[in-house]
Symmetry: C2
Subunit: 259 residues, 2 copies
Amino acid sequence: MKSKLAIVKIGGNVIEDPQQLSKFLMFFAQMPEYKILVHGGGKLATELAKKLGIETQMVGGRRITDAANLEVITMVYAGLTNKNIVAQLQAKACNAIGLSGADGDTIQAHKRRVGEIDYGFAGDVDGINASTIGILLDNDFTPVFCAMTHDGLGQLLNTNADTIAAEIAIGMGKTFETTLYYCFEKKGVLSDVDDNDSVIEKINTKTYQTLLEERKIVDGMLPKLENCFHALQHDVERVCIGDLSMVGPNAQRFTTITL
Amino acid sequence: MKSKLAIVKIGGNVIEDPQQLSKFLMFFAQMPEYKILVHGGGKLATELAKKLGIETQMVGGRRITDAANLEVITMVYAGLTNKNIVAQLQAKACNAIGLSGADGDTIQAHKRRVGEIDYGFAGDVDGINASTIGILLDNDFTPVFCAMTHDGLGQLLNTNADTIAAEIAIGMGKTFETTLYYCFEKKGVLSDVDDNDSVIEKINTKTYQTLLEERKIVDGMLPKLENCFHALQHDVERVCIGDLSMVGPNAQRFTTITL
């Protein structure tokens, strides 16, 4: 029987609020299964860039990562945010080890090809090194990934944290029973976007089609759910979407997605 | 028989010069024995602090690490410098993994007690986690440590890189035959400080006494050598001091210190 592995992704809303972060890390530290944390960087990088007089260009919600922005991201994501999370988890008796995709060659990527838009030093993931991550898990480490990868030729790359979490869940799915948790500001997938209590508790391929037909899945949630089904079709057991209480001992309602 | 382990410390003079760094990393990647890299941060942190309008106070050559400076150091040492070194080593087929002392709880420290001077978030090392570092080495990882530790209570601490290198060498000395390499700008311990070719190739306890009596060891070299003998008296096999060519295939003259 496969061992259980939780891959938990947190975003800016948790990282930027010290109290929320501390609460989340307490929950995360107490999860009994094998686990991996993936974090984005949030607004801190944008704020630092601003202080340094570095322009941050966004196209369609995506950052254009020029060399100066890559330095800022490396400082904030891999340095400030990652190491503070690691130190806090250690204080909560969780043997965290902070990683970028370059560390241990854990996530291989390539610089996004230049099409209509040149995203600069943005990385598209080619694959993860499941055996190396497995060695860390087997030796009681809890990997904490920041949203950075590398091209194997010495270049660090800025990479979407949702994608990293999904790719790790997919890559580890062959040897572990993996659950992918996306923590965000809402309680789950909502049937009424204006009502945070209208959580749809279970979604599968069939009910997803119905929700689509009823036009209940809109805007930002659509690509998120497409990514979830992509992961489920590639060895991931289940995907859970909800707020940070989802991984706590008294988890309230959240959305669980299966095939 | 114990396996050989090299602990190599590099400072600002190598880190700040991309060509020197690349040359050094090529040498380091090719060292056949088990190995660990320890790096300081150099002037980059001071420059970033300046750009951000954060004052950096130095007392007796030591940085006073207030909260704002600790953030800067975490960004530069653990982020920018560490991850770029890791990515470059990976490109040279060396399976580097970047660490602070918080990662894997590898280096335990405490905040320096406030005496005449309050050094702020400066860490004095209590000990290293030799078994955890050993697990990484046994699994083909090459640890790359930045000059940061933690107190186990969630606080990151700025810690002298020379000290970290010595403590790692001492801690690993029970299970490995350890050699501690201090790379700096000169070719070794010089008998004439103005002549970079006057390298003293071998120093031991006896000849060190003679050098002291002849007043050939002066200024900054004195505490450095005291630290070397401290390490030698605690399970470290030998200490080598020289420039970066010391770890290369055509090593030139450098200083080797033994008991």
